[in-house]
Subunit: 822 residues, 2 copies
């Protein structure tokens, strides 16, 4: 009862502290507290800061035995994790349940506690709201800034340098609808510098300025990343997948990463490099989620709960990247998350919606759409068109598989050769090459989003784009009427010279994008893959679409076109082909399925195209899977050696637990502690001799019967703590893990040290005959770090997550030493 | 190698058989084969029918020991389950992996095997296609038939009795748009019988005919259910949830159930009872899934794989019920499924789409929509309207919670009192009451779907419904212009007398529906809850909506309406309120969240209303949860005592595994087998003395060290089989579970019986100190049936799923004996 009242008090203080200490609170800051000044103060702080559920986690396990001992308060640091380690899901969830139970118990006792419990219950929703608002706002800011900087490469607004091209000409009176991007206020660099808008010298000036800005932006981006936040590079999705599976990478989702990633993402996108902002936006949203978690004790102190929030945050990222809240939630569920309870599903959905609405109210594109390439198709498609759609799927699958191979080969080269030593130079060189090659071609000069938007677009009568340069009398009378006018001005389209030029430029752009993306993804700048993949697919799709359209136009008497493609009827929509191509390529690279279809469905806003979309993405996935099982994110996870147990991969081997466990046949026996037979010195010796992150505790060396499991980190901290703070603990003190400490002190000997509170009494143990497929399943589903192996009740060995990953690598004939961390 | 070649052969035959024997193949039909004539033949059939992966399942587990013994071929029946038992997910998945491995191995050896492996790989997709087609077709048929029968209650088409009212008048030349349901070809019963269309006698005749038809339909429905398929009653969702969690109810998804449920669903819906077809459609789709599974060995033989298919089928059911494929998949994920791997997500989505397109091509409502109450709103909503929306949420939550309590109390009364003995009478009485009370009120006389459709509908200028009887000069000049005409003919609406009449009728309909639904749900006819719940909510919402509208009209000078509700502006959409009310009530009853929002979003086809929807459903869920944690399905599962381990419910208690395991403190010790110390007679004695479904095997009674676990059913079948078919096995034969059978026969004694192949060498064991919350988690995530409890390596007890459910019931102060099955 005494404990109850104090805890009540402590909870209050904790809530207060949680608002003061957020961000820089470090639970490990007083490991060796004894030597520090102000020990009194810190110990008070520690008592306050240790969450109620925390020390209870351990107490809970021994509560039924009625034990309350010296370590009851919890030693600071016990139960936390080191960097590059895997969390113990079972323990974290247990901690959270203890906390929840404590709050439930207290709320029956006082009104204040009831209020606090209500606040606690709604903190999850509040957190989601905050994440949605912040991520939406950041995404809007990134969109606007990137738009502005991209336009800056081409010219300058005389009304104010902060206007984008479109903005600049919007309010201009001289702007006509037909030429809405031409206005006197907007000056190209050539106009500003040499005073002429066109001609060779103007071209050269514009070219040089374009390249210079690209170099400046990319240089700034890579320098900022290198100097302030090395974790800000790449798309971040492989790392987030790994973190969500339980790995700890300190600082990966920190405030510096957020700040630098936001800034450098704008720079990288504006530099014209072949990269997108969609993947990095997921990283940005996850950083927001992680940082905002610090506001709430419930999430700050619990690694498992925090991962639930991060799952929701990754849904938010996709929601703002594509304006697709449902697609975002499914993306998080399908692609990123590891542990996704239903509660999280509902909250993710809420957060994704909040973010989408925040972004919509910012309205970065001025058209109340969340993405540049939103389209609303309503033209029907014909059953026979499924054949070209499947062709697009095959192209997407092939390109996806080849891209992954090429990119991984290039990244491996970067890791292993001297290329990796010059990241800044690499970025600048690639940016230079990209800018130099991109400028001459209209379709590569524009940003990838604009390109996709133009390719998705179905030509209307007023379109001034080259892609819509059809020979048709309907088009404002600009061309001579070669063909009879039909009732529908949109039908009856023969390609004009503009379309033929565009075709060649698109082919060149396709080749260029395909190659440059391979070397771009993985550089030390924020870089997403969605947009480049979609661009490649959209170009291929549009090319095929125009081809089909012209085929149908010139050969509408062919049996396959008969009936639905008669002269004068509109039958082929090249924009739809571009969209399907984009979906197919994205599917080939990422191997997304449902989420991809739903994202595209939310982008196009109609159920009509679900069948073509399914056909294209399914083909793409099958083709790509036939050439290599891994998507780009899994491939990068493996390349980087993260300890990620792929939940989708089926374990095909017939091995048993005893083939995987350590020690192997000829190894020295397993290092175990006995429950009452060792001294502090012996234990310390074992800790320094080995590097294992935990030790099983057995009844005795002879019987090898399992009692429990103790973590190295907990052991080290507890012994250090006892040595400095507990009277009489010396090297010769006996270490006890038993339930009852002997009532009388040992004759003549020093008092024993009871470490029962840090002993995990419920380690999971499997038998040596358990098939590995079941073992892998258990590891995946329960989120284990290690599992003990017994034979007829006797401890035989141990299997860690790393052992499993190594074994799986061996079985797949890969290098088992590529798995770096625990 | 010998085994390999034969298996290759067997696989081929198996594929052949699978097409011949589907439907009536029963793996248990030759248990006691020896006594039957034609034993040679049956044994051949058995060898062929036992799937490749099946016998390999066991072989796989002992393969590393290099054992191949007498039982290698598998004894027929070993590894199957009895009715009302829970499957072992781990074992089933293991079996499937073995099968997959075998196919993978074979496909490298011959081209034919490669082809077969490809067929095998695509069989899942083919199955989904078939389920989608069949379910879509059935749903279309049900819609059309129910529509026709419902209209038959009111009248008769002279052109042909098979025409519905709408169809009958469609092609009539005398039909005007305004009165499209009036045409000479359609005769009401009064016109046919007494020859006058209106007046007191006509009313009485119509009333009597309406009641008579209702009685006939409901009587037919309940008689058919009772006589042919008792499982066809109810909504089926609680049972499907239980089945998906691993329970076996033979015949629940069989062909009789499918046939009878389809027919009686049409009858029950047409009878005018307060029930819907949405829940039963899920059951129908699951029946289709289960029956079609018999076409493919992969799914026929594996209970776990079949449950994946059933998860997809339940998505199909919702997809056709609401025309919401994405919502259906999320419903399956959120509400129904237990084990939902990502592969299933993708396939469910495919199947749901196929079904939706099949239904669309059948076009049961003649408007190319999949549901009667599809709406396309485009009117905006105001921020202040969130207040009434939240009020609707509160209403929905309150009604949901109260409905669940009342319905469960009523169903319990039915179970425990004599009421339950007269199911036919009950249905007829309720149908009579419903029909008698429903006829006088226009809004209860029409079917619930039509009612919802009318309530959702936003009044347009041409609407002839009473609900749209606004005083406005825009309305075809039918009324005198009391108010100034505005530019927008829809705005500026004061309610006319029709609306006031409608209001009273709606209030009466609301009270009627609220009461009658409580007694209707749970009767012995197919009955869904979605439509009645939505109807209640839609009525309440429409009432509130009209109230708000009139308030805004008469008090548009109030500060809260200022700015957005000025005179002449359209500001309140009563149809939107009806929709939100429907969502709130449905949410309160079922506690669906994301899937509900997505279904409503697919019904209305616009992201604009997601915020109001979220507000209403979230409030509803919170309010309902505060009054009672369980949704209607969980409540019915508990009422029926199904062994369902709710994955959403948090286990809050602090108990340990040792508090739950059997034997309890004063019980006799655990019944165990020893690995080599018992005779066949002793084992048989233990089997007949106890009723446990499995026995742990230990090294010896003294040491109690765990070796493995053996299932009662496997043991009985193996011993029976050995006694009749294996030479020299008598009661005194020793039963061996050890790895090596002694090379020389026992001196003088009979030969031993090795039962190692049926021994599960990898039973999961936890320690006695494992907290129950972790144990429950392990049970849920791994889908266990039982788990052994050890202490310091010695076997202490066993925990079954039933023990956990009983313990949870005890902790929640419920009757622990309500859990009926294992």
């Amino acid at each position: 009862m005494q404990g109850v009242m104090r805890l009540n008090h402590a909870t209050l203080k904790e809530m207060y502290w949680s608002f003061l200490c957020c961000g820089n609170y470090n639970p490990c800051f007083c490991h060796h507290c004894c030597r520090e000044i102000g020990m009194m103060f810190t110990s008070v702080v520690v008592v306050v800061l240790i969450p109620a559920g925390y020390s209870n986690g351990f107490r809970g396990q021994v509560a039924s035995a009625g034990l309350l001992d010296l370590l009851d308060e919890g030693v600071p640091g016990v139960g936390t994790y080191e960097d590059f380690n895997t969390i113990d899901w079972v323990r974290e969830k247990s901690k959270d349940r203890d906390r929840h139970r404590e709050i439930n118990r207290q709320k029956k006792q006082s009104d204040l506690a009831l209020l606090l419990s209500l606040i606690d219950a709604f903190s999850g929703w509040l957190l989601m709201l905050l994440i949605g608002l912040l991520s939406g706002a950041l995404a809007g800011g990134i969109d606007i800034a990137a738009h502005w900087l991209t336009d800056l490469k081409e010219g300058f607004c005389m009304k104010g340098f902060w206007f984008t091209h479109e903005h600049c000409c919007w309010k201009s009176n001289e702007t006509t609808f037909q030429r809405r991007n031409k206005c006197p206020q907007w000056k190209s660099w050539a106009e500003l510098m040499v005073g002429v808008p066109e001609g060779a010298s103007a071209y050269v000036v514009n070219y040089l300025m374009y390249v210079s800005w690209a170099l400046i932006f990319s240089y700034l981006a890579v320098i900022l990343v290198r100097a302030f936040a090395p974790y800000a590079c790449g798309s971040g999705i492989p790392e987030i997948k790994t973190i969500l599976s339980g790995f700890i990478i300190r600082g990966y989702l920190g405030k510096w990463t957020l700040l630098i990633k936001t800034i450098t993402l704008v720079l990288a996108v504006s530099s014209g490099l072949s990269l997108g902002k969609e993947g990095p936006l997921v990283h940005v949203a996850c950083c927001c989620g992680n940082i905002l978690c610090h506001l709430f004790t419930k999430y700050r102190k619990n690694e498992a709960k925090r991962r639930e929030v991060l799952s929701a945050a990754s849904a938010v990222g996709v929601s703002v990247a594509f304006g697709a809240p449902i697609g975002g939630v499914l993306f998080s569920l399908e692609e990123v998350s590891y542990y996704f309870p239903l509660k999280t599903l509902w909250r993710s959905f809420f957060a994704a919606l909040v973010a989408a609405f925040t972004l919509r109210s910012i309205n970065p594109f001025g058209n109340s759409r969340l993405v540049l390439f939103y389209v609303e198709f309503h033209t029907p498609w014909h059953f026979l068109e499924l054949f070209p759609f499947v062709l697009l799927g095959i192209f997407g699958g092939l390109w996806g598989a080849l891209f992954i191979r090429a990119n991984i080969a290039w990244c491996r080269r970067r890791k292993t050769t001297r290329l990796g030593h010059y990241p800044v130079l690499e970025v600048v060189v690639v940016a230079l090459a990209t800018a130099v090659l991109a400028f001459p071609n209209e379709y590569t000069r524009m940003s990838s989003s604009e390109l996709i938007s133009e390719l998705f677009n179905d030509c209307s009568l007023l379109d001034s784009s080259k892609l819509c340069d059809y020979i048709s009398p309907g088009k404002g009378g600009e061309r001579a009427a070669n063909f009879s006018m039909t009732t529908n001005g949109l039908a009856d389209r023969a390609a004009g010279p503009g379309v033929y030029t565009a075709l060649w430029q698109l082919v060149l752009a396709l080749v260029f994008k395909m190659f440059i993306t391979v070397v771009t993804f993985g550089m030390k700048v924020p870089s997403g893959l969605f947009i480049p993949s979609m661009a490649v697919g959209a170009i291929a799709g549009r090319l095929l679409g125009i081809g089909m359209e012209q085929l149908a136009y010139y050969h509408h008497e062919w049996p396959m076109f008969k009936g639905w493609c008669s002269l004068g009827a509109k039958c082929i929509t090249p924009g739809l082909y571009a969209m399907l191509g984009a979906a197919a390529c994205l599917g080939g690279v990422t191997r997304m399925t449902v989420s991809l279809v739903v994202i595209m469905f939310e982008l196009t806003g109609g159920l009509e195209y679900i069948v073509p979309l399914m056909a294209a993405t399914m083909t793409s996935k099958w083709v790509a899977d036939a050439l290599g099982r891994e998507g780009i994110y899994e491939a990068h996870i493996r390349l980087n050696g993260y300890p990620f147990l792929e939940p989708k991969e089926e374990f095909e081997q017939k091995t048993l637990a005893m083939d995987v466990m350590r020690p192997r046949r000829n190894d020295p026996p397993l290092s175990v502690l006995t429950q009452d037979g060792m001294t502090v010195e012996e234990v310390e010796g074992m800790i320094s001799d080995t590097s294992y992150s935990g030790f099983p505790v057995v009844v005795s060396h002879q019987s090898q019967r399992l009692v429990g499991f103790v973590l190295r980190r907990d052991l080290v901290i507890s012994i250090d703590n006892a040595r400095c703070c507990q009277d009489g603990i010396v090297g010769a003190s006996r270490v006890l893990f038993t339930e009852h400490t002997p009532s009388h002190p040992y004759q003549g000997g020093p008092p024993p040290l009871s470490l029962r509170p840090i002993l995990d009494l419920s380690p999971l143990a499997i038998t040596d005959h358990t098939p590995m497929e079941i073992t892998v399943d258990i590891f995946r589903k329960l989120g284990l770090r290690q599992c003990l192996v017994t034979q007829n009740g006797c401890l035989l060995g141990i299997i860690t997550k790393k052992d499993i990953l190594k074994h799986m690598a061996q079985m797949a004939n890969r290098d088992p030493d590529s798995i770096l961390f625990n």
